[in-house]
Symmetry: C2
Subunit: 191 residues, 2 copies
């Protein structure tokens, strides 16, 4: 596993994040990112499938953590409890270091359609993963889909709250999920 300067991948992420912030996503060429990281275009595409992916690395790990938690939830747990376990299970990846450049990352994504598109796909990926995992537990199709969708909603809101308020991701997300469930209750009760 020989290497010149270590952490090529992380260097690319940092360079990309900074350049996107400075000049905007579409005004930044991949070659420029690679150059700032002391690498070349070839190496960039060896680490990331495309230009967008440099901002979304490790999301597949999240999906695996979610499905793992749902599969491993106790027999008696209902779908919503399983989904909550899935959200909590992702907390291990949300370190303080990751929290540091979270706002910068969010701002870049919000400012570009291609990136919002990629973000949307990732969320759909989470929803599908959780839906499938729930169905494997015997949860009916529609109930599984609804539970998963509520989970993704809580995940997104929870992530933003976590960036704003800090604290433990698991704790913040649990609260957020509880708020979502309360909102569902209000909706059902209102009519």
């Amino acid at each position: 596993m020989g290497r010149w300067e270590p952490d090529a991948r992380e260097r690319l992420v940092r360079a990309a994040l900074d350049l996107f912030s400075e000049q905007g996503y579409e005004n930044t060429a991949v070659a420029q990112i690679a150059e700032r990281a002391g690498l070349t275009k070839s190496t960039f595409f060896r680490h990331f499938r495309d230009k967008r992916e440099v901002l979304f690395g490790g999301q597949d790990v999240l999906a695996e953590l979610m499905t793992g938690a749902i599969s491993g939830a106790p027999e008696e747990a209902g779908p919503l409890e399983a989904v909550e376990a899935a959200l909590v299970a992702t907390a291990v990846t949300f370190t303080d270091e990751r929290r540091a450049h979270g706002p910068q990352r969010l701002a870049v994504i919000a400012g570009n359609d291609e990136l919002r598109e990629r973000a949307a796909l990732k969320m759909v990926g989470f929803a599908v993963a959780m839906t499938d995992a729930l169905k494997r537990r015997g949860v009916p199709e529609l109930e599984a889909a609804v539970a998963a969708e509520l989970g993704v909603l809580a995940f997104n809101h929870g992530y933003e709250r976590w960036l704003e308020t800090g604290g433990d991701f698991a704790e913040v997300t649990r609260r957020t999920f509880s708020d979502v469930r309360a909102a569902v209750g209000s909706l059902e009760g209102a009519e």
Copy 2:
């Protein structure tokens, strides 16, 4: 409003859909689509922002129909009733002619990541549009988001059901949304 052969846009859509089915999305060049439609690459990009968009035309109209219906819903209507009205309002665009190439379109989209990505973005667009429209009615943030998300879920499932079973889109969607609400009820009651 001069024009040689009429309906350039529709010809492009047909050509694209057929070529994508025959050879796959990524094996089809924009120039090829334009050629089959008797046009050129320039004209293609004058009608569609990018290669993907040729399969997603008119989705902005749907979003407007949804927000219009939510804004125009009676005062007493709850969030879920407003969302149901939004779904029903889109029915006018789902003609028999559109239903004809629906399955072909779905198959093409399912077979390519870029296209699923674009589809995901469109759904997020619907969710955001409905959420905002609900908030303008005074619905609290989270309740609005949940209601909108349930609406999008019903919209997607309803669309597929409509393609399979036929009939009136409004009717199919109404039933689907009712099923989604029932699923929500089961979830809440289970724990």
